[in-house]
């Protein structure tokens, strides 16, 4: 039996949901950040699965760009976390509310 495309889509959906649950429940900014990476990765699985099952390279090229954006996001996001920690001595996102009205 060959693996049908839907197996990959379901796996990707589960990983994305775990990432969503992590973002909504965790309070540590760095863990929230890792959960966002997990969501990006689950979307990458979907893109590569469609690319392989349809025989089209566009999905894989898109994954390449997603990886570049994730790397840029990691650099800037962690720099923001460091700047926040320097000012407030915490990475708890409940205590970081200076943009709240």
């Amino acid at each position: 039996m060959e693996i049908p495309l839907s197996y990959y889509l379901i796996l990707s959906a589960i990983l994305f949901a775990v990432g969503v649950a992590g973002v909504l429940t965790r309070r540590n900014a760095i863990v929230v950040f890792m959960c966002i990476e997990l969501m990006l990765n689950s979307v990458n699985i979907t893109l590569i699965a469609f690319s392989a099952y349809l025989g089209d390279i566009t999905g894989q090229a898109l994954v390449f760009f997603v990886m570049a954006v994730a790397a840029a996001e990691a650099a800037v996001g962690l720099a923001i976390v460091i700047a926040l920690f320097r000012n407030k001595q915490t990475v708890n996102i409940d205590e970081i509310n200076i943009l709240k009205w």
Partner: protein, 170 residues
């Protein structure tokens, strides 16, 4: 059950387990280690999908660059076991889990019941050819040349932004 299917189920179970552990761990370093294991299983899944270049890039970029940066920042800020954050179990947390479960149910419904009936049951015969460095290079420097160049600009902006944000004031 072919060995490929068994491999898929093993890797999928491993990926989901490490992802759940990543969310449940109290210690951010343990979270990061679970995330690295998760990235390795995802790289192996890419290999199952015949995407060789992206499997290698997944390990080099995600576990090699991004996670090293994350672990570095966790250790730099010293938010380990002793100064661990107080995490609350409250209504917001329950709502988050319920929302995520509803979301996965929605996605499963779309995949199983309202999907295109022509959805593929097996890999395309060209799958092994399009994952190679040669094909990817041809696509990136041909059809996707403009996005590729814009990506380099994005990375430059990210470098400058990271330096400006993280440097000491004054």
């Amino acid at each position: 059950m072919t060995s490929e299917t068994l491999t898929f189920f093993f890797l999928a179970a491993f990926a989901v387990t490490t992802a759940v552990l990543m969310v449940l761990q109290r210690n951010p370093i343990m979270s990061a280690i679970c995330m690295i294991a998760n990235f390795f299983s995802i790289a192996a899944l890419y290999l199952l999908l015949r995407a060789q270049l992206l499997a290698v890039l997944q390990i080099v970029v995600y576990t090699g660059a991004i996670m090293v940066l994350v672990v570095f920042v966790i250790m730099l800020l010293n938010i380990g076991e002793e100064t661990r954050l107080r995490e609350r179990y409250n209504l917001g947390m329950a709502a988050g889990v319920v929302l995520a479960a509803g979301f996965v149910a929605e996605l499963a419904y779309i995949v199983f019941f309202s999907g295109d009936p022509s959805i593929r049951a097996s890999l395309d015969p060209r799958a092994a050819a399009i994952g190679t460095v040669e094909e990817m290079g041809g696509a990136l420097f041909g059809k996707f040349l403009l996005p590729f160049e814009i990506t380099s600009l994005l990375l430059l902006v990210a470098i400058i932004g990271a330096v400006v944000l993280a440097k000491k004031k004054g």
